[in-house]
């Protein structure tokens, strides 16, 4: 596990450190070398997380600060923002991606007070970071709520050169209304009765709701030099947002937003045409001379969480330098390390930022936790010759092994792997190849089409996957069969298990037991159905299958996340904290 070899930031400028692998990408048959440097910035006690992307020659005339959307839309846009930042760097600009205070990898939580002010201050800190890198000419790009926050920050702060509003929201109120309606219509949840509002995957306090309700574009105090506004023609008018910019913007269409934000994350598509237009617009008026960039390096941060002082540091894992963040307490328990795996194509902060919550809560209990991006996902490069942003690739086996090797080089089995959906599946599969101390699998999906079937046979390491057949796909997709499917799910799974006896959970769960792997599966009725009622041999308590009726697959409702986190924490403390009564036997290596 290599680290960026530079100590704490001192405000002294430094070029990206030795040990920083940079990032290279091959596109259109041409090698484009760009640098990508993760860093902490902003207040020492409340650090913000970001990435600085720059041209390979470390010279640039302008910087672009990318203001992300909020809540679930942040996760949808994360990979698009990474590609946009890389394209801006290839075009000769410095691009800064960052997480607002209390979001992504930054310190804090969405439950903290003073959210709107903190988000606007985060933009100010990112602009200051761009200037510390040596660039005076700074532009802002924001999507959805990120656009509104960028516009407000530009008007209040001034000194912004270009402003790109990408599918902007007219007000904080319209954001709350759209997202809370989505949560209600998605899960038929009752509204909270204490003033808090539940959005898909997040809950905002009554104070944040009031602040967002009052957030709108102010009268222009300080006007950006130029603006580009890209909107969806079918969406609600912007209620004066454009008029209040104070500058006549160039207008255009935000192509592809529905396929980015309004489909299940596994199927979303990158809006490449819109990204390309933004890069072109930002790059076409490069008047300033190109200056040498000095990116300040700060690769670790310390802050308080749950009453404990924690440190978070960046790590580079395996052959392709997968990116990860390790969270550690001041005094670590003699206990296995925690590995948090990607859920679908979400990035390493986890589903609805759950892995950040888990890592900090468990680090406060004394456990060392790693959240990382498997190759080609989130902030990690793909393996050579392998497509990016594809879930459940066979290479994930190597990714997890290499992360284990890096995290626990003396005994790679001394880990607990935690995953949701595809991550839960992968944790179970990897534990069959190389045992772990424990596996927490939340809503694991065992029945899917492995991507390698598109070009060849199924990877032989897949022991527990029930591959989808064209017959099953047809059965799933015939609209009129929906009521029938609901009625025969249990029978269908029994039939599948008979067809694939070698993949029946009762056999491989026994194997995990015999290896001493402590398994906790938590899931809804559908996700736990494939497990049947495993009879088991040996220590039956080692494997626990727990059904939570109605558990949402992606844990969008808050109480679902709370229930799963609480159950896993109880299990962790009971079985893996030193001094706990029943400790599993050490698995054989």
């Amino acid at each position: 596990m290599s680290e960026v070899e530079v100590t704490h930031a001192t405000g002294r400028g430094a070029t990206p450190a030795a040990g920083d692998p940079g990032r290279s990408r091959e596109r259109a048959g041409v090698d484009h070398m760009v640098t990508a440097t993760p860093l902490w910035f902003g207040p020492e006690h409340r650090p913000l997380f970001g990435w600085v992307h720059g041209p390979a020659d470390r010279r640039s005339a302008g910087a672009v600060v990318l203001c992300p959307p909020l809540a679930r839309e942040l996760a949808c846009a994360h990979y698009t923002y990474r590609l946009l930042a890389e394209e801006l760097a290839e075009a000769g600009m410095l691009a800064i991606r960052f997480d607002y205070d209390g979001t992504g990898d930054s310190a804090g939580s969405e439950r903290d007070p003073g959210r709107v002010a903190a988000w606007l201050e985060s933009i100010g800190e990112a602009i200051a970071l761009a200037r510390r890198c040596g660039v005076t000419n700074v532009s802002l790009v924001g999507m959805r709520m990120g656009a509104l926050l960028a516009a407000v920050a530009a008007a209040r702060q001034g000194g912004v050169d270009g402003l790109v509003l990408w599918d902007p929201l007219a007000s904080g109120r319209s954001f709350l209304r759209e997202q809370s309606a989505l949560q209600r219509l998605r899960s038929d949840l009752k509204p909270l009765d204490d003033g808090r509002v539940e959005l898909p995957g997040f809950v905002y306090s009554a104070e944040t709701v009031a602040e967002l309700g009052a957030l709108a574009m102010p009268e222009p105090a300080r006007v950006p030099r130029r603006a580009l506004v890209l909107t969806r023609p079918e969406r609600t008018p912007l209620n004066g947002l454009i008029e209040r910019l104070g500058v006549e913007p160039e207008l255009g269409e935000a192509i592809g937003q529905d396929q980015l934000l309004e489909v299940e994350p596994l199927y979303h598509e990158i809006p490449k045409a819109t990204s390309a237009r933004i890069v072109e617009w930002l790059g076409k008026e490069e008047a300033e001379p190109r200056v040498e960039l000095n990116v300040p390096v700060r690769d670790r941060a310390s802050f308080h969480h749950d009453g404990a002082r924690l440190t978070e540091r960046f790590v580079w894992l395996g052959d392709v330098s997968m990116f990860g963040v390790v969270t550690e307490p001041e005094q670590r328990l003699d206990a296995p390390s925690i590995m948090l795996l990607n859920a679908g194509n979400d990035w390493h902060v986890g589903p609805n930022r759950l892995w950040v919550d888990v890592a900090r809560r468990w680090a406060a209990l004394g456990f060392r936790c790693l959240r990382f991006d498997e190759s080609g996902l989130g902030d990690s490069p793909a393996r050579p010759g392998v497509r990016s942003h594809v879930v459940r690739l066979p290479e994930t086996f190597e990714d997890v092994h290499e992360a284990q090797d890096s995290l626990e080089p003396g005994d790679p089995t001394n880990v607990i792997m935690v995953g949701l959906c595809s991550g839960g599946y992968q944790a179970l599969e990897n534990a069959l190849v190389r045992p772990a101390r424990g596996v927490y699998a939340i809503n694991p999906i065992l029945h899917f089409t492995p991507p390698e079937l598109a070009w060849g046979p199924m990877d032989p390491r897949r022991r527990i996957c029930f591959p989808s057949s064209s017959l099953v796909s047809a059965y799933r997709n015939i609209p009129g069969l929906a009521p029938l499917r609901r009625g025969v799910r249990g029978i269908a799974w029994r039939a599948l298990r008979l067809l694939h006896r070698d993949r029946d959970p009762s056999s491989w769960l026994d194997e995990l037991r015999e290896s001493g792997v402590r398994v906790l599966v938590i899931g809804g009725e559908n996700e736990t159905r494939p497990f049947g009622t495993p009879a088991g041999t040996g220590d039956a308590e080692l494997v626990q299958i727990e059904v939570v009726p109605g558990l949402d697959h992606a844990l969008m409702p808050a109480w679902h996340r709370d229930a799963v986190l609480q159950r896993m924490t109880e299990h962790l403390v009971e079985h893996f904290a030193p001094g706990a009564g029943s400790r599993p036997g050490r698995p054989s290596a």
């Binding site: 989505l182 998605r186 489909v263 609209p479």
Partner: protein, 80 residues
């Protein structure tokens, strides 16, 4: 009102079955309307009828069929 509702659904619901092949009591969710699309339908209906759906009506059953939407809108426009 019904024709206007159908026009909004045709534009925003992204149904896999065309709306003109669905009766007024046909299930829009079963016809392929996702939760995201249902929010788009809600917002477009608010623009078209100059109303705002209150919290109590933000539930799946409100947007399940042309008839249920019509009933909700009738309630809102009469009570305004």
């Amino acid at each position: 009102m019904r024709e206007q509702i159908r026009a909004v659904i045709a534009e925003h619901a992204r149904l896999s079955t065309p709306i003109d092949q669905l009766g007024d009591d046909g299930d829009l969710f079963a016809a392929g309307m996702t939760s995201h699309a249902s929010v788009n339908v809600m917002l477009a209906l608010e623009d078209a009828f100059d109303v705002e759906f209150p919290e109590a009506l933000l539930r799946k059953s409100t947007f399940e069929t042309v008839s249920s939407i019509e009933a909700a809108l009738f309630e809102l426009t009469v009570s305004v």
